[in-house]
């Protein structure tokens, strides 16, 4: 019983963090058909900017609201700044190219973003643990849990709700869906697709940065820690279905729970099992478990 609850909590917390990161990836893929390797760069930049600002604010009880402000603000800044530069000056010129070339270009951008971190923030690991320490922990079902990690799950639910509301209930969401459905028809209907792409890419980047910024207080932020996250969120997106929002949710739940189970039961299989699931899903259902139905065009 104790074991199952531990696995459940660990898995859910990990899943919520994965969900935020891979939601950004799946939105970018769904709208722009770009597999964005540079997403890991956004993630790392969000984590670093948030850590630096939390450490700058210092361990001070009057500051507790500023911590969260700093976290969200760094995510927004990173998304706006790098998202704008990358989409406007690099990706926009490549939409007619081969899809593999675009992946490679984002791979190059990932390298550049990674190294920029070394120059801006230095090579020492940062440990912005104040927000997590301040909230302390509580005991649920006989297990001690950090409250901060639990707020991560709440954040994931809020993000999922906002995303659902935006896509299904607002005018902007409908515009986005028509762009996803057919780019050229949307252009001819008077939708400014160039702007839609730019905004989508920025929002995707913001979500990636938010994932990094929010997880930063619970880990030690050091160079190169984003490299695992990239391919892990690829696994989530592929399992759920590339470009599908409910798919990202289910995919991150599967990956999070399975990984937590493996960590506690058979640590040797921790990485293996996630990619094995990814491969099996691709073999049985290449479009992913929850892929949006493909429109048939003539």
């Amino acid at each position: 019983m104790q074991f199952l609850t531990t696995v459940l909590f660990d898995g859910l917390i990990y899943a919520s963090y994965l969900f935020i990161v891979s939601l950004g990836l799946t939105i970018t893929f769904g709208v722009m058909k770009i597999l964005n390797v540079a997403h890991g760069g956004f993630f790392a930049w969000g984590a670093y900017l948030a850590s630096i600002s939390i450490i700058y604010l210092g361990d001070n009880e009057y500051n507790s609201y500023f911590y969260y402000f700093a976290i969200f603000f760094s995510a927004i800044i990173v998304g706006l700044f790098f998202g704008y530069i990358i989409e406007r000056f690099i990706l926009r010129k490549m939409y007619n190219e081969d899809i593999h070339l675009i992946v490679l270009a984002t791979f190059g951008l990932f390298w550049i973003l990674e190294d920029l971190i070394l120059h801006v923030f230095g090579v020492d690991p940062l440990m912005p643990y104040y927000p997590a320490m301040e909230l302390g922990g509580i005991e649920i079902a006989g297990i001690f849990q950090g409250v901060y990690s639990l707020t991560l799950a709440a954040l994931a639910i809020i993000v999922a709700f906002i995303c659902w509301y935006f896509l299904k209930k607002t005018k902007w969401g409908k515009l986005l869906q028509s762009v996803i459905f057919d780019r050229e028809v949307s252009v001819s209907m008077g939708i400014n697709v160039t702007n839609v792409y730019l905004i989508t890419f920025i929002i995707g980047g913001m979500l990636g940065a938010l994932g990094g910024a929010y997880i930063a207080p619970t880990i030690s932020v050091s160079p190169g820690f984003a490299i695992d996250v990239v391919v892990m969120s690829f696994a989530v997106v592929v399992i759920g279905g590339m470009g599908s929002v409910p798919g990202a949710l289910i995919g991150s739940l599967i990956v999070g729970l399975v990984r937590a189970f493996a960590v506690h039961q058979a640590p040797i299989l921790e990485l293996f099992i996630i990619y094995a699931i990814m491969a099996i899903v691709l073999i049985l259902k290449p479009e992913g478990l929850f892929a949006p139905p493909k429109p048939r065009k003539i």
Binding site: L35, V37, I90, K93, M94, E97, D98, I99, H100, L101, V103, L104, A105, F107, G108, L109, F110, W111, I112, E114, D115, L116, L118, H119, V123, I227, V230, V231, F234, A235, V238, M242, P267, I268, L269, E270, L271, F272, I273, I274, Y275, A276, M278, A279, L282, I283, P286
Partner: protein, 318 residues
């Protein structure tokens, strides 16, 4: 299949190039510089494999799988069978990678575009997940490889260099023969229109399967040679997804124009990396990433397109 292959200009130029590199590397240049040539020639094999796949518009983002299988089979053969013979090493690496490619090929030959890339990425990460946690294979520290021998005699660095040159020449000839055979000519046909190829009476899946096995063997050979020349295998520098990314990057940097291009590209890449690391240890990734973007934007045909412009042997079109 091999008839008259030495009369072909591409093969003559390729053999000449490898001879020059090997002679330069063993007699003229200092050791650190010739190391770059040696690693470049070895990794060039894997890039040649990727190039053959890319001509059908299939891009594998998991080719480090075969690269790593080649390297680890050398390490395992040494640990459990005591094999240090360089010839046996390369044969084992190629056979191991080829067998795996044969098995996985049955699945992968049905996939195209991004799904092909993603599935190969998944397979390579499965291997990475196993190797990074497998303690009897040294987990993330990897294993060390003892110096290679040939018929019981230690061959040293020069001998290894000659051997790599020989393997590269054999692969060049083989790749050229494959590409000019009717099976190889299907390559471009498949990327243009698969349905038409099927109507002509060829099996698209079978052609892709054969191509995939060839590509896997080349990458496995590259991994085996690389393990022998580095003296060390570990999952982070042999099997991780970023290694596959590097290989794909070298392919696009080299260009798809000629069988020699992958080797030139791989050597060039080794030099960029060494120099960037030498002069700007904290910015070498940035320099490599910048080079990648610059190549994609300003030199879409890769480095080979530069050679084509100045090629003195270029045949006049009639």
């Amino acid at each position: 299949m091999f008839k008259g292959v030495f009369k072909e200009q591409a093969v003559q130029v390729g053999i000449g190039f490898v001879f020059v590199i090997v002679l330069l590397g063993t007699f003229v240049l200092p050791e650190w510089m010739s190391n770059n040539f040696m690693y470049g020639l070895s990794r060039g094999l894997a890039v040649l494999g990727l190039m053959i796949l890319w001509r059908t518009n299939l891009v594998s983002f998991g080719h480090a799988l075969y690269y790593g299988v080649g390297a680890y089979s050398v390490a395992i053969a040494q640990k459990y069978l005591g094999v240090t013979d360089i010839f046996l090493r390369v044969v084992i690496a190629i056979i191991a990678a080829g067998l795996l490619g044969y098995v996985l090929g049955f699945i992968l030959r049905k996939y195209r575009e991004i799904f092909f890339a993603m599935l190969s990425l998944a397979f390579s990460m499965v291997l990475y997940g196993l190797l990074a946690k497998a303690e009897f294979l040294g987990s993330t520290d990897g294993m060390s490889i003892s110096p290679s021998t040939l018929f019981g005699l230690e061959i040293g660095r020069f001998g290894l260099f000659y051997f790599i040159g020989l393997i590269v020449i054999i692969s060049l000839i083989f790749a050229h023969c494959y590409l000019r055979s009717s099976l190889g000519h299907l390559t471009t046909a498949i990327s243009d229109n698969e349905i038409r190829v099927e109507y002509l009476g060829y099996s698209v899946q079978k052609a892709i399967h054969i191509k995939y096995i060839i590509s896997a063997c080349l990458a496995g050979g590259a991994g085996g040679l690389m393990a022998a020349s580095l003296g060390q295998v570990d999952p982070d520098s042999m099997v991780l997804w970023s290694v596959s990314g590097e290989l794909v990057f070298v392919t696009i940097m080299a260009g798809l124009g000629n069988i020699l291009a992958p080797f030139i590209g791989a050597i060039f890449f080794e030099f960029i990396r060494t120099y960037a690391y030498e002069f700007a240890p904290q910015a070498w990734q940035m320099i490599i990433g910048g080079t990648l973007l610059a190549i994609i934007f300003f030199l879409p045909g890769g480095l080979w397109s530069l050679f084509e412009k100045i090629n003195p042997f270029k045949k006049e079109k009639k």
